[in-house]
C-alpha cells in the first residue's frame, strides 16, 4: 500500500516538473521525484540501488541547476498546438497498446520468475565469497557488463570535456 502512495507522489512530482513554467522550480521537482524513487527502491528491498540513486540524484540536480541558473530565460510558449498534441497523443496511445499486450505476458506482481537468479542465490556465496548477491553479480558473474559500464562512463566524461573545453576554441566573434 505504501508503494502505491509513493508512486502517486512520484507521478505528482513528475507532473509538477513537466508543467511548471519556472525552470529552477522544475529542476527541484525532479529532485523530489528522484528522492521518491530512492525511497521506492528501499521499499522494494533494494538497498544498494537506494544509496546509488540518492547520490546520483544529488549530482544530477547539481548539473541541472548549473545549466539553468544565471540565465535570463523568456518563458517558452508551445507553438503549433494541434500538430504537437496530435503526434504526442499518437505516440502515447501506441505505447499504451504495446504496454497492454506486455502486461498479459508479465508475471504477477510479487511472484517473479527466478530461473537464473536462483542459481546466483544458491551458489553465490561459495563461488564468489560475497555476502551481497548484487555485488557478486555485478563484479563477478556479469563483470563484463561492469567493464562496459566503465567504458560508457569514460566516453561520456570525454564527451563532456570535449564539448565544454575553453582552450583551442575559436573566438566567439569569428564563430558568429
Amino acid at each position: 500500500m505504501e508503494l502505491q502512495i509513493l508512486l502517486l507522489f512520484m507521478i505528482f512530482a513528475a507532473i509538477v516538473a513537466v508543467q511548471i513554467e519556472d525552470l529552477l522550480s522544475s529542476v527541484i521537482a525532479v529532485g523530489a521525484l528522484g528522492l521518491g524513487l530512492s525511497l521506492a527502491f528501499l521499499i522494494l528491498k533494494a538497498p544498494d540501488l537506494a544509496i546509488t540513486q540518492l547520490v546520483v540524484e544529488i549530482l544530477c540536480l547539481i548539473i541541472l541547476i548549473r545549466a539553468t541558473i544565471n540565465k535570463d530565460l523568456p518563458v517558452i510558449r508551445d507553438g503549433r498546438w494541434f500538430f504537437n498534441t496530435a503526434s504526442t497523443l499518437l505516440f502515447i496511445i501506441l505505447f499504451l497498446i504495446f504496454a497492454y499486450f506486455a502486461l498479459q505476458e508479465l508475471p504477477r506482481f510479487g511472484q517473479p520468475i527466478m530461473r537464473v537468479a536462483q542459481n546466483y542465490i544458491n551458489q553465490g556465496l561459495e563461488k564468489t565469497g560475497a555476502t551481497n548477491i548484487v555485488a557478486a553479480i555485478i563484479l563477478d558473474f556479469r563483470g563484463y557488463d561492469t567493464l562496459g559500464e566503465a567504458t560508457v562512463l569514460f566516453t561520456a566524461v570525454m564527451g563532456v570535456l570535449a564539448v565544454m573545453r575553453r582552450v583551442g576554441r575559436k573566438k566567439s566573434s569569428s564563430m558568429v
Binding site: 513537466v18 528491498k45 546520483v56 544530477c60 502515447i92 548477491i133 560508457v152
Partner: protein
C-alpha cells in the same frame, strides 16, 4: 498489478514532456523521468512479496529473496543515466552560449 500501471503512467508523463515541450531543459527532464520509470519497472518485476533484500547474513538461512539480477542491471543503468545527463546538459549549455536560447525552434543554423 496497479504498481505496473502507475509505473506506465510515469513513463507516459515523461514521453509527453519529451514530445510536447520546446525547452531543451524540459526535454532533458523528460528523458530523466523516462529513465526513472524504466529503472523502477525493472525492480518491480524482480520484487517478491514477504521477502528480504539479497544480502546473506551469518547463521541465518534465508527462504525468500527478491530477484537480485534486475537490481544489478539497474545499478549499471543508473550510473550510465547520470553520465548521459551530464553529456546532454553540456551540449545544451554550449547551444545556449552559441544561440542565446533554449528554444528548439529558434535553433535553425543547421537547417541551411
Amino acid at each position: 498489478m496497479s504498481e505496473y500501471i502507475l509505473c506506465f503512467a510515469l513513463f507516459c508523463i515523461g514521453l509527453y514532456c519529451v514530445l510536447r515541450k520546446r525547452n531543451i531543459i524540459k526535454i532533458i527532464i523528460g528523458l530523466g523521468i523516462i529513465e526513472y520509470a524504466v529503472n523502477l519497472f525493472f525492480v518491480l518485476i524482480g520484487y517478491r512479496t514477504h521477502s528480504r533484500a539479497p544480502i546473506l547474513a551469518k547463521g541465518q538461512s534465508i527462504l525468500n529473496m527478491v530477484d537480485p539480477l534486475p537490481q544489478a542491471l539497474v545499478l549499471t543503468s543508473i550510473v550510465i543515466g547520470l553520465a548521459v545527463t551530464a553529456l546532454i546538459v553540456a551540449i545544451a549549455i554550449r547551444i545556449y552560449e552559441k544561440y542565446g536560447t533554449f528554444d528548439i525552434t529558434k535553433i535553425r543554423r543547421l537547417k541551411g
